[in-house]
């Protein structure tokens, strides 16, 4: 079901993680296209990290400062939350050196720039109080800045906390100013702390400084990134504008402060919400208009015409019109039409439009009722893509074509950005004022670890390219699989011929790979979802080894069949879209892929790599939010069950989003251990590979201590800041497969490294970031890196390397299927097969 998988992966591109991990077989995702506003997304990850933070109190020097900052509503990204957690000091074997040495050295250019500070540079943090107290942050700022001793200095002020680069003479400074109304306001500035440049607070201030600098370069902030609207890329046939820009951050790497920039694009729709609604209205007709409209628009971010603000559409109020009145802040009533006319000289053309409703985020973390804003569709521009748009293959391709930037293009843009930061007078002034110096681009040396051999039944192959070895193993027999004797194929009358020839093709490719496929029972069904489902219910019994469905189209068929065959009547199933079979000339390669998936679903093993460690268990864990019930998450767990790491035990649990994810690990481990006894006798070392921010270290240790095994826990992160390029005869290329970076761009307090394990035919490759947070196997860094690389070879749905270790992707596939289609824990009878491929 390759085509199916791709369509479905595309359909979910709005969840950032799903978008990236869902299509590892394709070339890597475009450089962080902002499909939706990031701000709202990463909340679940946040919970985990926060908890860890509280446990690890001694690691943070200035915790109170940060919480203060948060109370004021200043956002602190995940990166800041992670700072100060030092996992490396507890890992004795890497305390002194966490770098490996094997492999061929390779020179790499990065997207990181040095930020130099004078020695002993410090920030001075003051607490500012007002008497009488003032509510308005703008007024607070204006009064404070009216004093030259403050306004002359480099400063950052959020309304209560003031940061200065130079110390004021007194520890407590009293100032007073007069408001327009003639009121005298006393301000007291108290020095609360002196902050070192490596502190997280300081990093936060650096980010504020660069926010100012990018503004000076005529860039606009949307979410966390900065965009340049004056040089848009247009895709008129899809009514899209792409604003080029950068995701930037300042962070402390090994020993220095570095500025990083990644090319990013903001997707904007060249239409107002009103135009979008009008269009939709003509497409849907009246009866399902409101429903469709709400479905498409809710959750999208809009940009208003008359200011620079973005809002999330939380609701549509069909009962309110622009001619209705609302209460202004001063208590007077005014109609929306008059308000926009008076305030912005904007005349509304459509007085029948409904209003959009947006819940405003409370600036302070108190429990006051959320305020709502009514917005006029005519004055709102859509940003990002609707769910319908993300499932539109042509549209997504057009976007990808424009946003996928080659390493050379990336490098040119970086150089231009660095140049304008250095040249712009205002930017230069700002940096100088703080004592910062924007330095050169950083280069470093990585290593390319040796490539892996692929072991098949009677053949060992050294692939020409590790990115794709399908050609190398075309005539080889897979490791093992049981013959397929009893299986059913459901297809509609229309696709009978295609189905027949496809089955013959499957038999042929099957026999050449050592997979005996007998002729199935083909069942013809009427072309509607209910008929398909009934036929499946009627014909499938537990003796059937596998069910194949040739689906005419669409989700309606897929979900119900998958649910039935995964939970109610557990039989491995293979769904294929009918139109996949129509692709002329592709039949053999499609049949090959399908045959391999079928073999996996019959507990077959396709290939192996050399695993030097005996009795190793590798576990992948992933979490996915349920598509319908937001309060529920699906936790997937995939563990290897044999020393060769070719067979897997897969299970998932559905639980409340607020429940500790680690709690269910015990259940998994127990289940895995009982399943294991049949297959494998002892377990000495195990490897956990997890998605970021699951906060599971404590309970993993707990559960592993029961089984007296040694354990390593690695957090795998697809999203990371650095990019690496190699310079090749005057142009830039992606680094070779297997490139490891474990110095300079890493963090000193962590045992971490980057690994490039996927090829990017176009665009810039995203390195995958590995953070070893627990390791009592005591593996050498070299071995840890190579073992990780080996794991990237074992994903049976793709004959090549993938960007993350196979068990992680299996776990992702499993949770994705459950969260999107099944919404129920699949039957344990399927746990020993990769039924979700």
């Amino acid at each position: 079901m390759s085509g199916r998988a791709r369509v479905r992966a595309r359909g979910l591109a709005r969840s950032p993680r799903a978008a990236e991990v869902g299509r590892p077989q394709a070339s890597p995702s475009p450089p962080s296209v902002d499909l939706s506003d990031n701000e709202a997304s990463s909340s679940s990850d946040f919970v985990g990290t926060k908890r860890t933070l509280q446990k690890d109190e001694d690691g943070i020097s200035s915790g109170d400062v940060r919480s203060n900052f948060m109370e004021r509503g200043v956002k602190i990204g995940r990166n800041f939350m992670d700072l100060g957690i030092c996992t490396r000091e507890k890992l004795a074997h890497v305390k002194d050196c966490k770098t490996g040495s094997s492999g061929i050295p390779v020179k790499l250019v990065t997207n990181l720039f040095n930020l130099d500070l004078p020695q002993n540079w410090q920030l001075y943090q003051y607490h500012v109080t007002y008497s009488p107290d003032l509510e308005s942050r703008r007024l607070r700022t204006a009064l404070l800045y009216s004093h030259s001793e403050i306004s002359n200095k480099a400063k950052a002020f959020d309304g209560a906390i003031l940061f200065l680069s130079r110390k004021l003479e007194e520890k407590v400074t009293e100032l007073s100013s007069e408001t327009h109304r003639g009121e005298t306001v006393k301000m007291t500035l108290t020095l609360t702390s002196e902050v070192l440049s490596s502190s997280p607070v300081c990093i936060q201030v650096f980010n504020i400084i660069f926010k100012k600098i990018l503004k000076k370069l005529s860039m606009y902030q949307i979410g966390r990134n900065y965009y340049n609207p004056s040089e848009p890329v247009e895709i008129p046939q899809h009514k899209l504008s792409l604003w080029p820009g950068f995701a930037i951050s300042i962070s402390q790497f090994e020993s220095r402060l570095l500025f990083s920039a990644n090319v990013s694009y903001k997707v904007l729709r060249n239409e107002t919400v009103l135009e979008f609604m009008t269009d939709l209205y003509h497409k849907t007709g009246v009866s399902c208009f409101t429903e469709t409209c709400e479905k498409q628009l809710m959750g999208l971010i809009v940009l208003t015409r008359y200011n620079n603000k973005t809002y999330r559409i939380d609701d549509i109020d069909w009962s309110v019109r622009p001619t209705h009145t609302f209460k202004k802040r001063d208590g007077t009533e005014i109609t929306y039409v008059d308000y926009y006319e008076q305030q912005y000289n904007i005349t509304l053309s459509d007085l029948n439009q409904p209003l959009l409703v947006s819940l405003l985020k409370s600036k302070r973390n108190d429990n006051t009722e959320a305020r709502i804003a009514h917005l006029i569709p005519e004055l709102c521009f859509l940003t990002g893509l609707t769910s319908q748009a993300t499932s539109d293959f042509q549209l997504m391709k057009a976007v990808a074509d424009e946003t996928r930037i080659s390493p050379l293009g990336q490098q040119q843009r970086l150089a231009r950005l660095a140049d304008s930061i250095q040249r712009n007078k205002d930017a230069h002034f700002e940096l100088e004022n703080w004592g910062l110096h924007f330095g050169g681009q950083m280069s470093l040396t990585g290593r390319v670890v040796p490539s892996e051999k692929i072991f098949l039944q009677d053949h060992v192959c050294q692939p020409v390219s590790a990115a794709d070895w399908s050609k190398d193993i075309r005539t080889c027999k897979i490791l093992s699989v049981q013959p397929l004797n009893k299986w059913l194929v459901f297809c509609s009358n229309r696709t009978e011929n295609g189905t027949e020839s496809f089955v013959n093709c499957l038999k042929r490719v099957g026999s050449s790979m050592g997979f005996n496929v007998s002729y199935p029972k083909i069942i013809k069904v009427q072309e509607n979802p209910a008929a398909f489902f009934r036929a499946v219910q009627q014909h499938v019994d537990p003796d059937v080894q596998l069910v194949m469905c040739i689906l005419p189209s669409d989700q309606n068929y897929y979900n119900s069949i998958k649910k039935y065959l995964s939970c109610d009547c557990p039989v491995p199933s293979q769904c294929i879209l009918a139109r996949t079979l129509n692709k002329q000339g592709m039949m053999m390669s499609i049949a090959t892929r399908v045959a391999m998936q079928m073999a996996c679903k019959l507990e077959g093993e396709l290939w192996a790599v050399e695993i030097p460690l005996k009795s190793l268990m590798v576990v992948g864990i992933d979490v996915c939010k349920d598509a319908f019930r937001k309060e529920v998450v699906v936790v997937g767990f995939v563990a290897s069950v044999n020393p060769r790491i070719t067979r897997w035990f897969s299970r998932c649990i559905i639980q409340k989003a607020t429940t500790d994810i680690a709690d269910c690990l015990k259940v998994f481990m127990t289940a895995r251990c009982s399943a294991k006894t049949a297959v494998q006798r002892r377990m000495q070392g195990s490897h956990f590979l997890t998605s970021p921010g699951l906060g599971l270290s404590s309970s993993v240790t707990e559960s592993s201590s029961n089984t007296s095994s040694r354990l390593s826990v690695i957090v795998v992160r697809r999203k990371c800041v650095p990019r690496f390029f190699t310079e090749m005869s005057r142009t830039m290329e992606n680094p070779p497969l297997g490139t490891v970076v474990d110095s300079q761009a890493t963090r000193s307090e962590w045992y971490d490294f980057y690994l490039i394990s996927q090829a990017a035919s176009r665009g810039t490759v995203n390195p995958t970031y590995y953070n070893v947070i627990y390791d009592d196997n005591g593996l050498k860094p070299d071995h840890m890196q190579r073992l990780t690389f080996k794991m990237c070879h074992l994903y049976y749905n793709w004959m090549g390397l993938i960007s993350i270790p196979a068990p992680c992707l299996y776990a992702h596939k499993l949770t994705f299927l459950v969260a999107q289609s099944i919404h129920k824990e699949p039957s344990l009878e399927l746990a020993n097969s990769l039924f979700y491929l």
């Binding site: 046939q237 009514k239 269009d279 007709g285 940009l303 015409r305 459509d350 409904p354």
Partner: protein
Amino acid sequence: MEDKNIQVADLGCGDTSLIRLLKVYPCIELLVGVDIDEDKLRWRGDKLSPFMGDFLKPRDLDLTITLYHGSAVERDSRLLGFDLITCIELIEHLDSGDLARFPEVVFGYLSPAMVVISTPNSEFNPLFPIVTLRDSDHKFEWNRMEFQTWSLYVAKCYNYSVEFTGVGEPPAGAESVGFCTQIGIFRKNGGRATESCVSEQHHHHVYKAVFTTSYPSLKQERFLRLVLVNEVSQQVESLRVRYLRRLKEQEDRESGNEPKDTGCSDTHIPCFGPVFTEDEKARIEKSPKPFCVGDKFFVPLQRLLAYPKLNRLCAEEEMMRSVIADSVDLSVDGSAVVVDLHYYSDYVFDF
């Protein structure tokens, strides 16, 4: 302000709040703020940059906003020949020497078509709790007589006519004190400054430019193209969808199904779509209709030009063709836009 290409300067612009109010007017082409507080200008400048929405829906006319650090009693040729110069709550901050020089600079040298001067009305002051000057920096506060005498004298000197008004109605019972703030509106007799008088004295630059920004507008080709191509795509898409819907209804009728949901029977849901006047409707009706050949859908450029929104952007077929040619597919003879009749995502809407 029916005129186009208006140039306005605000002397003593302070926190630029007047400039922010003025920038929304489509007729203004140049907005200048002058103040002696450079820090304030620098700090406020960012607020005057175009909004992001201005790039998506550009103005019709260019707009440049410039903030100068300088004084209202210095001559700078870059402010010559403006349509309007405003001096809001400015003159009362001038000492007697500067006040004497002020008319000569503003009326005599800059000589704009119109000057608006506002200043506190001291007769209103007894209504405030504290009876002193309204601001510690005020050098004087005039009553109505003083202001009007000064204004009439200035107007006479420099050949302007003046009328008086004000803002801030006095409370009931105190009507006799007049407005809280008095305003003089000066109009130059004989209208706008002539070109020759402007060109004679240029290149006298005293002010220091602190901030300047230009707005995207339809006068700039790339933005015109952007907007025109988008509007064309939008219109073509909307015609295509309507065409398909009609086909569908026709099919339904032929197969005997009741066409479901047409028109706006449900009162709860507003009727969508642009509203045309009778003239506009007739124009659209008269223009060549979209048509279909095979699976291609054609919309004649003449048809597109009939829609007011597009016509406003571009009135001629030739011009439209040349602007959009690179971005959309045209028929062989270039007279129509061509798109596929069916699109991948249509199935969602059951066409």
